[in-house]
């Protein structure tokens, strides 16, 4: 079991800056994030977009800000469980928490800081009836191991890079026995090279392109056997296959945190602005995921929240110690 002082759920800008502020108080942190890399929305959604309201940075690219926050946190040697989703929480007899991830990693600490931003990024599910019934029974939203599809008839939906790249990969490497690519439009918005490859493979009869079309239904006894496909200006199609992989990007969901007994208002966690504590002592929420009167979802405000929050977290661990604010300019940064 990993032991630390603060478990930070969410490795976005707010979570990363928490490591720094906690470090100044000699508190250790461990970050969990469902995404495989740190940075949250900034790296996942808009790494190349400029941000103009970080004090002292008239303009900074989101990805660059994350790099700098990682550098700032580095002296305090944070632990990372990336690509893992915080799933379960339990209280221990000694008034601490154990958070377990979906991969079974267990982390124990006095405090939890939920800096989950918009929530966990999960695959966007198409609105098809009985979809859930076929999940893992032929419907997969992510291709984890392409060899899973060996000699299978695979239908991929979507027009973006992941749909194109997987269609090409499963075809070129002769993994799947059939590859169909269903897309709502005739044009593809993926990388031009990938689009060209798909078109070439389609011309060679190796990828079956079904454009101006949408999967609208699944049929099968306990597993995917056929897909009903609606086509513009054409007869609907009943396509026999073994797998359907809808690739429509990711969207954020609050996820398991919603079931932790926290006060939640409109998908955000209600906090006390004194120290950004939730209704459960020892659990704090900072950044975009919290709400309070006057809340603004700004990175800048999240940094402030993180700074005040760690003071309260310190008090929970060391109730008898007095904290004196020390300026980094005077003291420097004493890493671990």
């Amino acid at each position: 079991m990993i032991e630390t002082d603060i478990i930070i759920i969410g490795a976005g800008p707010c979570g990363l800056f928490t490591v720094f502020e906690a470090g100044l108080l000699k508190l250790h942190c461990h970050l969990i994030d469902a995404l495989p890399q740190a940075g949250g929305q900034l790296t996942e959604i808009y790494p190349k977009k400029p941000i103009y309201d970080i004090p002292g940075f008239p303009e900074v690219l989101a990805g660059d800000l994350v790099d700098e926050l990682m550098k700032q946190a580095a002296p305090f040697k944070p632990g990372f469980s990336l690509g893992e989703r915080a799933e379960m929480i339990e209280k221990t007899k000694d008034n601490q928490f154990i958070v377990t991830t979906n991969r079974g990693t267990a982390i124990k600490a006095h405090n939890i800081a939920i800096a989950g931003g918009l929530g966990c990024f999960e695959p966007r599910k198409p609105p098809v009836q009985n979809l859930e019934m076929y999940e893992d029974k032929g419907v997969e939203y992510i291709i984890r191991d392409p060899h899973f599809y060996r000699d299978k008839r695979v239908v991929i939906s979507g027009g973006g890079d992941s749909a194109l790249d997987w269609a090409v990969f499963l075809t070129e490497n002769k993994i799947a026995s059939e590859v169909h690519l269903v897309h709502r439009r005739v044009s593809f918005r993926g990388h031009p090279d990938s689009v060209q490859k798909v078109l070439d493979l389609a011309a060679a009869g190796r990828i079956q392109l079904i454009t101006d079309a949408e999967v609208i239904g699944i049929e099968g006894d306990g597993k995917v056997e056929k897909l009903r496909i609606e086509r513009q200006d054409k007869e609907p199609l009943l396509l026999e296959c073994d797998h359907w992989v809808p690739l429509f990007g990711l969207s954020p969901k609050l996820g398991p945190i919603a079931d932790w007994g926290l006060n939640i208002d409109k998908n955000a966690i209600v906090v006390d602005t004194f120290d950004y504590s939730t209704n459960i002592p020892g659990i704090y929420a900072i950044g975009d995921i919290n709400t309070y009167p006057g809340k603004l979802k700004l990175i800048l405000c999240g940094f402030h929240e993180a700074t005040l929050m760690v003071q309260s977290a310190f008090k929970r661990i060391y109730p008898d110690k007095n904290l004196v604010l020390k300026y980094t300019t005077v003291n420097g940064v004493q890493g671990f």
Partner: protein, 107 residues
């Protein structure tokens, strides 16, 4: 001056007449949010989530979709020919009387 009327039909079919300022650099997503209509605007207006997906139901000439908006609508569900992302529609005086309908939200 600087104020137009916009009608937003919610997912239950109720029409809301909104006073929309055109001098505050607001878009349709923000307008709906400011009236607490059920529009999430998750990505904050970067055309990256489609949670402000709406259908244009009046014949107003609107600016062409940008590449970003096209790309996002490409991944959204319940898309029709009159689909737009509210966050990409900046309120302007020539939108007086515009009528939109909020699109269904998927999971």
């Amino acid at each position: 001056m600087g104020m137009i009327k916009i009608t937003v039909i919610d997912r239950q079919g109720a029409a809301h007449q909104l006073d929309a300022p055109t001098d505050m650099n607001m878009n349709m997503m923000e307008l709906c949010k400011s009236y607490e209509l059920p529009v999430e605007g998750t990505c904050g207006g970067m055309a990256m989530c489609a949670s402000c997906h709406m259908y244009i139901e009046s014949a107003h000439p609107l600016p062409e979709k940008s590449e970003d908006e096209e790309n996002m609508l490409d991944q959204a569900f319940f898309v029709k020919l009159n689909s737009r992302l509210g966050c990409q529609l900046h309120l302007a005086d020539d939108m007086e009387g515009l009528t939109v309908r909020l699109a269904e939200v998927g999971e």
